[in-house]
Symmetry: C2
Subunit: 323 residues, 2 copies
């Protein structure tokens, strides 16, 4: 197992990201403050380049490539934000990018990835083994694989969002972070333990896919079938080996939010904060609001992780039964 | 006619607004840059308190009240953002607020205004004269009237958005600003002429209601019937006496945008910048994109004025024919 990243790696990532990633705004809402009885600080990674925090980890990883790695190129597999993050970062750094996507991935996501200059290779996920295909392609072409979360450079890059947040707000009492494979939560943990050691740190998963919660309680990584949830960015089946180690060392607990709570939060963000947030990006606020933790009078951070949601689908979700 | 406000009034307003108004973020989008062949800076007043720049002018006006005025209270007429801006500002300053709204104003807007602590008085706009009713109420109760745009303190307050923008970006080559009654454009003009005198300044109206454009060309205020347009914040029938004087002195031109262009821009903001923007708030970007001005290679500012749009209506507008 590679060494776990440290806060020094996050600080180094922040240097690499300067002028490349947006320093996203920390927004406030008096309605959110009232709902929670707390001071709430939203770190808005939906306003990050390509619409999600994923750009941070992808760019940091690629920026560390050796000249030989740069020349040969990067390979990634993803049907979501990681694909676009790698494609965009690779273009900015002049590195060829190959992205493996399932044949039935949404056309819009394939187009977006190609739009950023990535070469998309499709596979049939019912007959072909993705990992094997990736390893084979990587070997044939000499490509470096950057996985979506379980990689020290990805984790360190994701940690820069919380670093920016805490530098702007000062110490917080609690921080709520969406949790899929654990890249964002583990990176955040490095920043929190360095900059605000007393802050309670909570990962938040979809109710239907609480493998992280189960893993934390069992003390080992638990595997689940792909969960059915609106939070498509958190449909991972298990945490990573590295992310789990950091999370179990540094996170205080893992909470869950229901799909109904995510839709409520999506509407809240649209109506009160004028932001488009994807279901996965709503996990933190949904749990802060509904998980029953005593937050009154506290300074509470919420990481809004992304805003990439198909527009027609988004309209459907916020429009239905809206007042 | 009261004296026209100056940039000194804008600077004084900025002092009053410190810690009260959000310093809204200036956001970038590489897609917008590509579309315009320019560097585009969006000043996001949809992320302002109560969802629009209107808070700036309202708060500035009320903060200047004498003790006697504060005690007696403020009166305003509006069915839109100005009502909420006055109600919220009044609550923050402990001033009683009376808001005159048409009987058939959307329930959501009445509720929002009441939610901020304002007393809503309704009138029948087919049988009752609004101005007369306002003057009568103001006299009876000793209230101070703050109109939605044609007032030096309102204009100076609105100018603080452009002041913040220019302080953050440095000089711009062109700036596009939504135009209804002219409060935002005239206030912006004061900041632009003081901080970036070479910057071209454009007001943008809905195509269906180009009274400002007509007025600028005629050299006098032109009155039109209430225009039919999605841009409900720019359905004014004429500019104000004060706003017109500043606009004809300081603005370079007035452009228009069609409703179809506004919807296109709403979708752009949702899809690429993850922001909810109301139709009126889209005027600036729509004209920057479609009015045919040569912007290639320039540094271009766009004021996104607000994000207050009924959620069901919004979902309808961005969802229809969305990919």
């Amino acid at each position: 197992m590679p060494q776990l990243p440290t806060y020094d790696d996050v600080a180094a990532a922040a240097q690499r990201l300067q002028g490349q990633a947006h320093r996203t705004p920390v927004l406030r809402s008096s309605t959110a403050d009232r709902l929670l009885g707390a001071q709430v600080f939203f770190k808005c990674e939906n306003l990050q380049r390509m619409g999600a925090f994923k750009f941070r980890g992808a760019y940091n990883s690629l920026a560390k490539f050796s000249p030989a790695q740069r020349k040969a190129g990067v390979i990634a597999f993803s049907s979501g934000n990681h694909a676009q993050a790698i494609a965009l970062s690779a273009r900015l750094l002049g590195i060829p990018a190959t992205i493996l996507m399932p044949l039935d991935a949404p056309q819009a996501k394939m187009d977006a990835t190609r739009g950023y200059g990535g070469e998309v290779i499709t596979f049939d996920r019912y007959t072909q083994d993705r990992e094997q295909l990736t390893v084979q392609l990587a070997a044939e072409r000499g490509l470096t694989l950057i996985p979506p979360f379980d990689h020290p450079d990805v984790m360190a890059g994701q940690g820069t969002a919380a670093k920016e947040l805490l530098e702007e707000t000062g110490p917080l009492d609690a921080l709520f972070v969406p949790l899929g494979g654990g890249g964002l939560l583990s990176g955040t943990a490095l920043s929190v333990r360095a900059l605000a050691p007393q802050c309670k740190l909570y990962g938040v998963e979809p109710e239907a896919g609480n493998d992280g919660q189960q893993s934390l309680r069992a003390g080992r990584i638990i595997d689940i079938p792909t969960p059915k949830t609106l939070a498509d960015g958190a449909q991972t089946q298990h945490l990573g080996k590295l992310t789990f180690e950091v999370i179990r060392r540094d996170a205080d607990d893992i909470l869950t939010a229901s799909d109904a709570q995510l839709v409520e939060a999506m509407r809240f963000f649209a109506e009160r904060m004028k932001m488009v947030v994807e279901p996965t990006g709503c996990l933190g606020f949904a749990a802060a609001r509904h998980a029953g933790l005593p937050l009154a009078g506290l300074r509470v951070g919420v990481i809004v992780s992304g805003g990439n949601v198909d527009l027609a689908r988004y309209a459907q979700l916020i429009g239905a039964n809206a007042s």
